[in-house]
C-alpha cells in the first residue's frame, strides 16, 4: 500500500475521534464532512481513475436517499435499508453505465447530467411511493436524545466513508484500477489488449454510485425529511468535482483533503455571506480553475508549501 493511502486511512481514523470534542455543531459538520468525502472519493473512481467527466453524483445520491427513505418510511430497519440503498444504486448505475459510457467527453457529461433530471422527475411523479414534490417524511430511527442521535448518525456516515475509502484503495491497487487507468490513458489501446472496457467502466460507474447511494440513505434517515429538489440538487454533482480539482484528480488522499478544504470554505461562506453564498462559491470555482489548475498541489510551485506533504 502506498504511503498516501496509509495517510488517508489514518486521517479517517482521526476523524472518528471527533465526538470526543463534540457539540451538536461539530458533529453536524463532521457528518457532512464524511458525506462530502464519500462523494469525492466515489466520483474519483469514474472521474479520476477512468477519466469520464461524470455529473451523475446527485442522481445517485438522490436515488439512494429515496430508496433508503421509502424503505425506512415503510418500517424497514436502518441496518437493511442503507445496504439496499447502496446495492440498488450500484445496480442501477452499472446498468445505465453500460449504455451511457459509450459516450465520451461532452456527450457523456450531458447524459450524466440529465440523469439527475430524469430521476428527479420520476420521483416527483411517483407520488404514491415518494410523496412527490411534497417530500417524504422519515420516522426517527431511535430517539435517544439530540446528542445521541447526532453521534449515532455521525458514526453511521463515518462508517460508510471508511468502507468507501477501503473500496477506493482496493480498486486503485487491483486489476480493475489498472484497467481503468488504461482506459483513461487510451481506450482504443485498452480494447486492443483484450480489456473489456464496457464491463470495467460499468463496474466503475456502479462503484461510484454505490456508496453515494448509501450516503444518500444515511442522509435521509439523518434529516428525517427529503424532497426531490433537495436531494437531486445539481450542486451535489458539481461539488465532488470541485473537491477533486482542489485536491488533485486521481489521488484518493488528495480528493479527501479537497473535500475537507471545500467544506471549510463552504462553512465560512455560509456563515458570512448567506445571501450570496452560491455566487461566492462560483467565484471560488472560477478562481480555482484559473489559478490553481492542479489544485492545492499547484501551490508547491510557489514554495509556500515547500515542505508540505505530497498530496
Amino acid at each position: 500500500m502506498t504511503r498516501a493511502n496509509l495517510i488517508l486511512l489514518a486521517l479517517i481514523a482521526c476523524i472518528a475521534a471527533l465526538p470526543l470534542f463534540g457539540e451538536a455543531y461539530t458533529l453536524r459538520l463532521g457528518t457532512i464532512a464524511c458525506m462530502y468525502a464519500i462523494m469525492a472519493l466515489s466520483w474519483n473512481v469514474v472521474g479520476g481513475f477512468a477519466g469520464y467527466p461524470s455529473f451523475a453524483t446527485a442522481a445517485f445520491f438522490g436515488l439512494g436517499a429515496y430508496i433508503g427513505g421509502v424503505l425506512l418510511a415503510r418500517g424497514m430497519p436502518l441496518t437493511m435499508a442503507i445496504p439496499i440503498a447502496g446495492i440498488g444504486s450500484f445496480l442501477v448505475a452499472a446498468l445505465l453505465g453500460a449504455a451511457l459510457l459509450r459516450l465520451r467527453g461532452h456527450y457523456f457529461a450531458i447524459a450524466s447530467l440529465s440523469l439527475i433530471e430524469v430521476f428527479r422527475e420520476l420521483v416527483n411523479n411517483a407520488t404514491d411511493l415518494t410523496g412527490g414534490g411534497m417530500g417524504l417524511n422519515i420516522p426517527l430511527a431511535a430517539s435517544a436524545g439530540v446528542m445521541a442521535d447526532a453521534t449515532f448518525f455521525f458514526y453511521l456516515m463515518w462508517g460508510v466513508l471508511l468502507v468507501t475509502a477501503v473500496m477506493v484503495i482496493a480498486v486503485s491497487m487491483s486489476k480493475l484500477g489498472f484497467g481503468l487507468s488504461c482506459i483513461m490513458q487510451n481506450e482504443t489501446a485498452a480494447n486492443m489488449v483484450g480489456l473489456n472496457t464496457t464491463l470495467y467502466k460499468s463496474v466503475a460507474f456502479g462503484l461510484s454510485a454505490c456508496f453515494v447511494g448509501a450516503a444518500g440513505g444515511v442522509y435521509a434517515a439523518w434529516v428525517h425529511y427529503i424532497d426531490p429538489s433537495d436531494v437531486f440538487d445539481i450542486l451535489y454533482s458539481v461539488k465532488p468535482i470541485v473537491m477533486a480539482l482542489i485536491g488533485g484528480l486521481g489521488s484518493p488522499l488528495g480528493v479527501t483533503i479537497g473535500a475537507f478544504v471545500y467544506l471549510g470554505l463552504e462553512e465560512v461562506v455560509w456563515r458570512n455571506y448567506i445571501q450570496i453564498h452560491s455566487g461566492v462559491l462560483g467565484v471560488l470555482i472560477v478562481l480555482l480553475l484559473l489559478f490553481l489548475p492542479h489544485g492545492l498541489t499547484s501551490l508547491r510551485g510557489w514554495r509556500l508549501w515547500g515542505r508540505a506533504k505530497n498530496v
Binding site: K175, F178, G179, S181, C182, Q185, N186, T188, A189, A190, N191, M192, V193, G194, L195, N196, T197
Partner: protein, 249 residues
C-alpha cells in the same frame, strides 16, 4: 497448410465512402503476408475490420474456424488476434513495463498483475527495451515506441499478428533491426500480416503479397509475380519503379 484467417466478400462503408469492396482473402498458419497498396487503399481499414474496431458492413470474417465478424475487439484480442498501430497507441503515462504488462494482463483472463509484469520483462528484452522498462512511454523515441507496440502485441500471445507500418519513420539501421525481429517471430511460428511501404522489407520477409487498391484486392501471390503484375505496377509501384526493379533484379 491449415487456414487461420478467412475473409469472405468483406465490405466496409463509411457514409458515402466504400473503404473495402468485396475482399476475400485466406491466410494460412505460419505465413508471412505483405499487405501493400497506395495510401487510402483500405489496408488499415482491413485490419480494423478483422480486429472488430470497425466491423464489416457486409461479408464474414473467420478466425481459427470461428466467425468473428461481429465479435468485439477485446474478444478477438483474447482469441489470439493482435496488432500494432500505424500511429502508436501507448498508455502514455505508464512505464514501458506496465504498457506491456497491461497487454499480458488483460489478454489472458486469470492472469495476475505480478505475473504479467514478469512476462512483460521478457517481451521487453526480446525487443531490446530492457533498459527503458521503467521509463514513461510518452518520453520514448518514436523507434522505441514502435518496438514497445510490438512487445505489447507479443505479450498477448498472438496466433495471428498484424503489423501496421512498424517501420514507418525508422532509419535504415532501425529498419534492419525490426526486420530481424519479424524474421524471428515468423520462425517461432507466429502468422504475420504486415502492412508495409518499404518494398525492400516486404520482399525480404514475406512469403506472399496481397495488394489493395481503392478498397479492392487486385493481386495476391508470390512476391515476384505480384511485382511484375501490370495492374499492380499501374496502381501502386509506378512504371519507373518497375524499371528499377527490372534493372537491379
Amino acid at each position: 497448410m491449415s487456414e487461420i484467417l478467412h475473409l469472405q466478400s468483406v465490405s466496409r462503408r463509411f457514409g458515402g465512402l466504400q473503404a473495402l469492396r468485396d475482399v476475400s482473402l485466406t491466410v494460412n498458419k505460419g505465413e508471412v503476408i505483405g499487405l501493400i497498396g497506395p495510401n487510402g487503399a483500405g489496408k488499415t481499414t482491413l485490419v480494423n475490420v478483422v480486429t472488430g474496431v470497425t466491423p464489416a458492413t457486409a461479408g464474414t470474417v473467420k478466425f481459427d474456424g470461428q466467425d468473428i465478424t461481429r465479435v468485439k475487439t477485446y474478444r478477438s484480442a483474447r482469441l489470439g488476434l493482435s496488432r500494432t498501430f500505424q500511429i502508436v497507441q501507448p498508455f502514455a503515462q505508464f512505464s514501458a513495463l506496465d504498457n506491456v504488462a497491461a497487454a499480458a494482463l488483460f489478454s489472458q483472463p486469470g492472469e495476475g498483475l505480478k505475473a504479467a509484469r514478469e512476462e512483460a520483462r521478457r517481451h521487453l528484452a526480446f525487443v531490446g527495451l530492457e533498459a527503458q522498462s521503467g521509463q514513461q512511454a510518452a518520453t520514448l523515441t518514436l523507434a522505441m515506441r514502435k518496438r514497445l507496440e510490438l512487445a505489447k502485441a507479443l505479450a498477448m500471445r498472438p496466433k495471428l499478428l498484424f503489423l501496421d507500418e512498424v517501420n514507418a519513420g525508422l532509419n535504415s539501421a532501425e529498419v534492419e533491426r525490426a526486420t530481424e525481429l519479424i524474421h524471428q517471430l515468423a520462425a517461432d511460428g507466429i502468422t504475420i500480416v504486415m502492412i508495409e511501404h518499404l518494398m525492400k522489407v516486404v520482399l525480404n520477409v514475406c512469403s506472399r503479397i496481397v495488394v489493395l487498391h481503392n478498397g479492392q484486392l487486385i493481386a495476391d501471390g508470390q512476391p515476384r509475380d505480384v511485382m511484375t503484375n501490370p495492374a499492380v505496377i499501374e496502381a501502386y509501384l509506378g512504371q519507373q519503379y518497375a524499371q528499377r526493379i527490372g534493372a537491379h533484379g
